[in-house]
Symmetry: C2
Subunit: 243 residues, 2 copies
Amino acid sequence: MNSRLVGVGVGPGDPELVTVKGVNALREADVVVVPVMDTMERGRAEATVLHYVPGEKVVRVVFALNERSDRGRREAAWDAAGDRVAELLRAHDAVAFATIGDPNVYSTFTYLAQTIAELVPGTVVETVPGITAMQDLAARSGAVLTEGTEPLTLVPVTAGAAVLKDALAGPGTVVAYKFGRQAHEVAEALRETGRLADAVWGSALGLPEESVRPAAELDETPLPYLSTLIAPARREGGRGGKL
Amino acid sequence: MNSRLVGVGVGPGDPELVTVKGVNALREADVVVVPVMDTMERGRAEATVLHYVPGEKVVRVVFALNERSDRGRREAAWDAAGDRVAELLRAHDAVAFATIGDPNVYSTFTYLAQTIAELVPGTVVETVPGITAMQDLAARSGAVLTEGTEPLTLVPVTAGAAVLKDALAGPGTVVAYKFGRQAHEVAEALRETGRLADAVWGSALGLPEESVRPAAELDETPLPYLSTLIAPARREGGRGGKL
């Protein structure tokens, strides 16, 4: 019988923001892989997993290298990580992979599934959805993501500031992901499009070092890479965040 | 002390797609309001809530009227619903409102919170995120929502077919919500933009009558109003849904 690789979204950091289905998938798996940085410090996915499954079932695999590491080292680490998961799939019926947020939204799991399709053909790949950072930031800040006929655009700032500006020029809600060093450019784009007053920014959601603030307070200080920004749709009466 | 109104996202229909935080919020509340249609049939939110809390704590309130009912009747029903929730807030410390999907994404809860701010000033409003239909459809169909630097645009088709076409003309992932009678126009927009082959459509996700199909199979038959469509980003090698 073919083994199963299950990508489980464990949410942004608060261990309670995992679904019941996600908890069951973690518990039913023979082993649970958690991606760790090469610094080996405990990440968000690992911390959440350890709330629900015993540590001896958890396999730490180095995936996320420091942003500044060179391409060659990143690729070598990636190959080693793929090989390790392939090895686990050959030894077990069900391997879960815990990913922060949702496994189908900017997740390492997408690439892992492609690598595994080559290394262990016939592996059955499944995913369990998870709460994304934009949803958690909306709940924590009081910024409604969408109502009525409003569109929503999700933009990774790594796609370039122009893509973000284009989206902000429109009427709908804009969510920006993966900025940090570009905090200044993001604030500038919000100012130019008249959206700075309503926008909210958050990082480390659900963790002790959580920060949820009006975007107008952003200055030139670099922010954590996993920062999230919501610029709510232009609404009658200007109802944006409640901060 | 002021009472709390907690909007709890209970996911698209599968009772396991509620978060642990959502289950706790439902259980800790004094009463749980579930919106029902004027036909009084059991809706998805109610069915999911009844998996976690005893029926005697659940209060059914008519919110969602038949799409064809006239404006006057809809407004009268809305006023009655707001009054009923206000009454519950005056009698209890914590009232939960269960909403399918996420309470900050096209949810009745947004309007309810505004109504309650007027009727019972001082009410503390909170939300607990929930899995949205697009996330569940991605998991069930194998269509990755976003990877790398791809943007994602969420468009309610009720905003007009032009907004949908504009989004489809771009390179990113497009998710269409709330169509049904416009299925033909959605299929036409996909065809014109060369995205029909990769797109997937779903309805009644997680329910016995679930349907998840390639969008290319859509014909002129009207679909359920709560239909969801994913047109994955234009990707090298054309990796879209796996159906």
